[in-house]
Amino acid sequence: MTTAETTPLAYPFNHHDGLELSKAYEDARHHPGLLRVRMQYGEPAWLATRYADARLVLGDLRFSRAEALNRDTPRQGEGRTDGGILSMDPPDHTRLRTLVAKAFTVHQVEKLRPYVRELTHQLLDELEAAGPPADLVDRYALPIPVAVICRLLGVPEEDRPKFRVWSDAALSTSSLSAAEWERNREELRAYMARLVQEHREAPRDDIMTSLIDARDGGDRLSELELVDLCVAILVAGHETTATQIPNFVMVLLDHPGELRRLREEPELLKGAIEELMRFVPLGASASQARYATEDIEVGGTLVRAGEPVLVAVGSANRDALRFDEPGRLNVARPATKHLGFGHGVHHCLGASLARLELQEALGALVDRFPNLRLAGDVVWKDQMLVRGPRVMPVGW
């Protein structure tokens, strides 16, 4: 077991322009014990890169997220990106999560499929009418999850340009100072607080109204928790899916054999989306460190009580101890328990919705445009928690 203090490695390893997983992760997975890393801001941390270690840290309640609020937590930017439901432990976390969990179960979400399918067809009609080259991000990848989450939550879709700026900043890593980040968060909160007030006066059939009922009728959450939960659902509810749609298209264009197979065997679609979730390392970096609340051995390293551990899910998803030929994209790979949606109590609330949107968006695109190709330079997001094209011109 290694407990000796070594000089921490500079972290993150991945570059923002592209979807490559840094070779440093493969080395780390073969290295006994956990790596010691240091990000630009905050204290040094352990880095878990293997599947089993990642599942242990994410799934075991002896690791706390709430403790991060008391600490100089490892992060890329000066501003602190913690707070809200992602920085809570049970039972507080459970109290908030159960208020919204039922809106996002497999069965609830499945009811939205016809609507999402119609939406993809309508957007592809518009794309086709506009003619190539067209920006896949702005005309397709973004409008789908935005429309869906706005409808579910009760946010006017025409406000997209406004919350797009806030949401971008909320997920930015180092481009903003702490004061800028704080100001942005307050603007987004003020916007959402106004919408909450409107819903109070005129209740509707949406998640915001059900949360208002839980607050006003059952006192199950505070006003700030209500506002922050709506903000979290809006931001998390569109940014990741909007980023993964072009990411998946990029990866499939890079693997023409797999793309052809998917087109010829559309019944592979659901499994292919899971394989793409496994294969594409969305995050530029591990984030949201977990703090050990007692001494715990992880992958041969004794993590002491109070020490933070970062979990690199992109690396865990390429662990050869778990996946055969982990570096190969295989759209027909048998079902795997990838960690693309995380694991444990913070497992992505919207996983079922994301799956449905990705299935419909990719399925419709692959089916409609057999000659889909890049038709210009891809501009990558810079300094964001998630990696992916900001602009992606395509032709067909």
Partner: protein
Amino acid sequence: MTWKAEVDGDRCMASGMCAGIAPDLFVLDDERARPLSEEVPEEERVLDVADSCPALAITIVDGGATVVGPRP
């Protein structure tokens, strides 16, 4: 009085949610969650687990075989 907990193995997607919320009652084997004991205490927390499962794979029934969780 206790309730009974069942996990539908076909629906379970091993998110780790139940074992995370109530590690004393649910455990995650490699691919599937299961209750440590079929009998679970009559607690709000147990209903929270059933409500939170993203796959709706957990059913809680009372002594009269009435489904009490997940809640509608």
